[in-house]
Symmetry: C2
Subunit: 231 residues, 2 copies
DNA sequence: CGCGGCTTTGATGTTCATCAAGTAAAGTGG
DNA sequence: CCACTTTACTTGATGAACATCAAAGCCGCG
C-alpha cells in the first residue's frame, strides 16, 4: 500500500464479511486484531502495478478500478469492482507484487489483512480455501467473459454494455451518476474518447438515454439491451 | 465428458504429475485408483460448453483449444493449452457445468479425476489447495493479459504475437507446424481469416518468416519481436 | 472425380481512430 | 475572489485500418 491513511475502528470488516464468511469466529477474530482499515478519496491510488504485496486487500465500501499499463504507456481498465467483488485479488496469491494498479473512483474504505495471516488461515481452514478457490474461479471467468463481450462488439454495443454494466451490476437502477469520465469509459471498453461521447450523444438523440453531465438515465431499457445484443 | 474413449493403464498420470505435485503418496494413489484416461484424436471434442462437470480434467499429452461461442454463434478461442497448463480448469471449481468447450487440436491424452474426490483432496490437504489457488491465479492472469496484449495491438502485432506464442510457449523452437488453421488463428486473435493470410504473406515477403503450408519457420526472430512490440 | 472446406489475392466499403478547434468546467495561485 | 491554466467535453472532417465480398486455385476425402 502506497499511502497510509487514517486507521479506523475495525468495525467495517464485520459489516461486510464478504470473502471471509467461511472463517470460524476464532479465526475471524484474529483478523480483526490484525488488520488495518484505510480510507481513500476519489481519485487516490490504492496500490500500484509492481509494488510488493504486503496486505490482502478487500474493498469494504466504495468503488474502485483496476488498471494495467499497456503498450505506449496507455492505461487499460481491466475491471470496475464494488464491495465483495474480488479487487485485484486475482493476483494476490500468485506473485509477490501487484500485477495491476488499483484506484478509487469513489470514496472507498479498504481493509488490509496481513498477507501471511491470510495464507495461514487458508492452510488451517480448507472450507475457507475452497470458498476462495471458487471465488477466484468466478472472478477469472467474469474477467475473461467481460473482455470477450466487449471485444466482440462494435462501438454502439460496447457503450450499451457499459451503461448496462453500471445500471445493473453496480447501481441496480436505471438512473445513476457515472463515477468515471468519458476518457475512462474509453479505456475500459477499448475505444477513443471522442467516440464514447459521439455514441452517448447518439443514444441521447435516439431517446434511449438522457444525459446531464455525468447523470445518466436509461429511458428505453429494452432498446438498450437490443443494441447490446445486436452488437 | 461426451465421448468415452478407451481407458488406458493409468501410467500417464504418473509421468506428468503436474498439478498434483503437492499430494502425498497416499493421496496420489487414491487418484491412481479412481481416474480414467481418455484418448482424443485431433479435432475431437473433449467437453462442451454447458455440459455437466463430472471429472476434473487434466491434459497429459497433446494440445487443446478452449472455445466459447459468442455473438451470432461465432466461435472465439480463449486459449491454447499444452500439458500442465490449466485446461478449462478456470471454471472447474466455480460451477456445475463447463463454461467453455474444449477440443483437441493434436492427438491428446486426458486424465479425468472424479470431481468429488478432487474436492475431498483439496479439503484434506491445504498445501495442495494453496498450490491450486496459486495456479488458478496465474492462469487467470495469463488469460486476462493475453486478451489485453491481443486487443491492444493491430493486425501485424497480433500475427507476430501468435507466431511467437507457438514458437516460444508451445513448441520452444523457431521451426514448427501450425496445429490450427488460418481460420482458427483468426478466431484466436480476433480478426478475419483473409487478413491472417494476407499478413502471413506479408511477413513471408519481408523474409521475417517462411511458410510451407502449415510449416512455419521464423527467419528473423528479432524483427518479429519488434513487430510485436510496435504493435 | 467432384464436392466442400481451406487457402489465397484483389477490390470495395464501413468502422473507427485521429486530428483540429472550440466550449465548458474545474482546479490553482496570487 | 478573480485571472489563469489545465482538464474534461463536444462536434466535424479526414484518412487509415480493417471486414467483407468475390473469384479462383488447391487439397483431402468419400
Amino acid at each position: 500500500m502506497d499511502n497510509n491513511k487514517g486507521n479506523q475502528t475495525g468495525q467495517e470488516c464485520i459489516e461486510h464479511k464478504g470473502l471471509l464468511e467461511k472463517l470460524t469466529d476464532e479465526q475471524f477474530n484474529r483478523i480483526l486484531q490484525n488488520h488495518n482499515t484505510f480510507l481513500f478519496e476519489k481519485g487516490e491510488i490504492i496500490c500500484s502495478e509492481g509494488n510488493e504485496i504486503i496486505n490482502f486487500l478487500f474493498l469494504q465500501k466504495g468503488l474502485i478500478k483496476l488498471l494495467k499499463t499497456g503498450k505506449n504507456n496507455k492505461e487499460h481498465i481491466i475491471n470496475v469492482a464494488k464491495p465483495d467483488d474480488f479487487i485485484g485479488l486475482l493476483n494476490f496469491f500468485s506473485r509477490s507484487e501487484y500485477l495491476y494498479s488499483v484506484t478509487a473512483i469513489e470514496d472507498s474504505v479498504v481493509c488490509g489483512i496481513d498477507f501471511r495471516l491470510m495464507k495461514q488461515l487458508l492452510e488451517e481452514n480448507s472450507g475457507f480455501a475452497m470458498d476462495i478457490i471458487e471465488k477466484i474461479s468466478l472472478a477469472a471467468n467474469d474477467a475473461v467473459n467481460a473482455r470477450l463481450k466487449i471485444n466482440s462488439r462494435q462501438l454502439r454495443g460496447r457503450i450499451a454494455y457499459i451503461i448496462l454494466f453500471f445500471a445493473e451490476h453496480i447501481y441496480g437502477k436505471d438512473h445513476f451518476e457515472l463515477p468515471i469520465s468519458r476518457k475512462e469509459i474509453a479505456q475500459l471498453i477499448d475505444m477513443s474518447t471522442e467516440n464514447v461521447i459521439r455514441i452517448l450523444s447518439e443514444f441521447r438523440k435516439d431517446k434511449i438515454i438522457s444525459i446531464d453531465g455525468k447523470k445518466i438515465t436509461i429511458l428505453d431499457h429494452d432498446r438498450l439491451k437490443r443494441v447490446y445484443e445486436l452488437g
